[in-house]
Symmetry: C2
Subunit: 509 residues, 2 copies
Amino acid sequence: MGSLRAHLLETNPSCELKPLDPEEFRRQGHLVIDFLADYYHNVDKYPVRSQVEPGYLSKLIPDTAPNNPDPIETILQDVQNDILPGITHWMSPNYYAYFPSSGSMAGFLGEMLSTGFNIVGFNWMSSPAATELETIVMDWLGKMIDLPPSFLYSGGGGGVLQGTTCEAILCTLTAARDKILNEIGRDQITRLVVYGSDQTHCALRKAAQIVGIQPRNFRAIETSPSNAFGLSPASLRDALIADIAAELVPVYLCATVGTTSSTAVDPIAGLCEVANEFGVWVHVDAAYAGSACVCPEFRHFIDGVEKANSFSFNAHKWFFTNLDCCCLWVKEPGALVNSLSTNPEYLKNKATESKQVIDYKDWQIALSRRFRAMKLWLVLRSYGVANLRNFIRSHVKMAKQFEFMVQMDKRFEIFLPRTFAMVCFRLLMPSSKSDGKEPARVLEITNELNQKLLEMVNSSGKIYMTHAIVGEVYIIRFAIGASLTEEKHVKFAWNVVQEHAEAIIAALD
Amino acid sequence: MGSLRAHLLETNPSCELKPLDPEEFRRQGHLVIDFLADYYHNVDKYPVRSQVEPGYLSKLIPDTAPNNPDPIETILQDVQNDILPGITHWMSPNYYAYFPSSGSMAGFLGEMLSTGFNIVGFNWMSSPAATELETIVMDWLGKMIDLPPSFLYSGGGGGVLQGTTCEAILCTLTAARDKILNEIGRDQITRLVVYGSDQTHCALRKAAQIVGIQPRNFRAIETSPSNAFGLSPASLRDALIADIAAELVPVYLCATVGTTSSTAVDPIAGLCEVANEFGVWVHVDAAYAGSACVCPEFRHFIDGVEKANSFSFNAHKWFFTNLDCCCLWVKEPGALVNSLSTNPEYLKNKATESKQVIDYKDWQIALSRRFRAMKLWLVLRSYGVANLRNFIRSHVKMAKQFEFMVQMDKRFEIFLPRTFAMVCFRLLMPSSKSDGKEPARVLEITNELNQKLLEMVNSSGKIYMTHAIVGEVYIIRFAIGASLTEEKHVKFAWNVVQEHAEAIIAALD
């Protein structure tokens, strides 16, 4: 069909190009699938972190859109030549940076179906299957991680797919804010206070800023190594009491299971107990580590969640679902709906009026929404619960192996004990160099060494890791979660780290 | 490869299933492409609006996730049997409801590539190509619709891809709010006022609610038939003066080009003149009609935009880009960044510190972001500017034809003159029935007739249209924009409407 079209266009230039022709779609679709399959075959051969310089692409691409069509073959060639060098390869087996985005075959296929149907699922009516599949799949997933029934539809709560944790926090914070303001008066907004720890994701501060919390009323409560950088319920209580004494109104706490810097775990049960006492909404952000809770042996990290108001994790982080897919459950969907519902005439319909359906537009920021449940459904069905648990466990096992290798090398230290599939480690300053120096100066030099090590490793393009600073210590984060990573890649990664460390240490002499 | 895998699994049940195997990806990817190509071949055979009843899917799907994997063949069969009946077919050539989502082959392929690379493009470093392609493509598109240079990167402004207009409004409103609050004090939030018309999309009220504007400070200024339901600058001025007299602080106006109810156009130049005088941020929401501005003959509808602060349209509505893709341009990117930036240690990198790159996370709500520029780039390159203009024009031409057919039938009236590719019309009450009745009663009965007509037409499954109420009049909206729609479908649609109208009129006797 492709050659037929080319022929037609050539012999009859006035022949009309259509935005969608099923046979041309088939031909070009197969080409792109083959392109991507080949990409996955070769992805370990590219530098993991892109090595381009700022502005590289404007030198390769014209500054206006083309007037005439380009064939898909030309475009794919340009993707290969111009785009791929500027891609940081999150799908590479050698990717260990940030938290990996564990895209999978099933996640991809689900997104294809969703994109192909291209429905705009703002309410039930706009495509009942999108809403109903989401409802069903969110209960499936909730049961898999053993959420209390109060978070499931079957128990009066419910789950909804958001794009990201930022949105999940923004929506629940808006709901929590309005619950309080409806009691004490809308103009009391300047008295509201939001709580997290100094390890909480920056999404909380941003959401607080967006919903109009006064910057002076944002609390990033200090954590310490003695609690493994978890938020202490006693510290929370102190902060709450101080704010109430200052005639402020505590409204929302974001507790984290698996912080970004070091996968620290806030003690959910203890925090909920304190927060409940003060009527504060508790959101549990398990963006990364929530996925692990499908394995019974990891479920205890969210013990106490039954006392929280909302819970979320990102299926696009460590649950084999392509970006974006954040799973949010709330106990009280009505609180979301009260804050976020709209009811313009042009969307009115019998199903909504019957109150027998869910209109997810009222559970999120945007009106329009993609059919995200499709990809989650494909992930769950294509792999099944048993395999999904095994995928998670294999990542944890590889992280244990990496941790062991680090422990065996006296030049390094594990900074914090590994909890999930991320290892936080650092190169130590050789004792021959540190002896007699002030501890502060040793810390400073060690931090610089690790920064240098990381930059050298990443510049090699062989693997990609990123850093954090926790309690003034610069640490290297080795996060396993890319779908193609196998044990041989982890061993290779450790060799790369060791080689560069040797060079750095040698240069000290 | 597929049969090999099945064979391996059968003969060796312990054989490990992988989340991503390139050859299995290829096999299953081709199956899904064929599934979708066949779907597009047959999409006109399905009832356009799904005919299922609430709760249909829970009767077909188990209430827990499967423990073991299901083959893709089984899953696709279930999509066919269980999901498709619950899909409202936005891709059908007979779809005329809401505003269509003009998915296309190129939009789909671009989304495939983006989903396949699965990068998380929060900042430049995380995949330079994603940021740089977005920058380039937004300038391409800005030039295509002849945006003033002040909105382009080349002129000190810039464009960014958001998911939806709701997000574009939320981000710009947050920026506008903070610009004022930074001057007058953060605790003055209760004095801020937001403006739109009674025709403005519900996204504005929702955004105002989220950012903490007091509900009593939201102005939906009345429009009238005499201005074709556009917002009059004089009415805006009156509202501003009254609010200032009441010691309130005007902050943001959302002007619309192509309202949802009737594609009404607010007079941008006149509104900007008034708003500028009072220091009010003007956002121009051209969600639907902005796409038409790529055609020089439609560009005049956004004349005056050079005096606005921000401008957005949805490429997923009428620009052949699959959901979701909202194009937002701002004159002052710094205002967005001031409100929305975050700078946690774990995201720090040399490129950001060099200030030579854009980190789009600071231009939007969420941290994580998909590589949306890819699909817009594929749309622009696969079709080219000339064809994209022709696609738009062909929709407008079909809408003219439909309008003409309605005008020729004395039983109907065109409610408002057509401006773009949407026709607003209604069935009239036969004069034999209306003579001697109060006008209010005639309006009431006519509204009921049209409601009944619309429900009958949509229940037939042959076509799908939706309604609005404008100035108390119930109108039927016939929005052309689905990518597969051709003239024959429009003629068919009109026949369907006429047939059902005949039945309704006959029943009056």
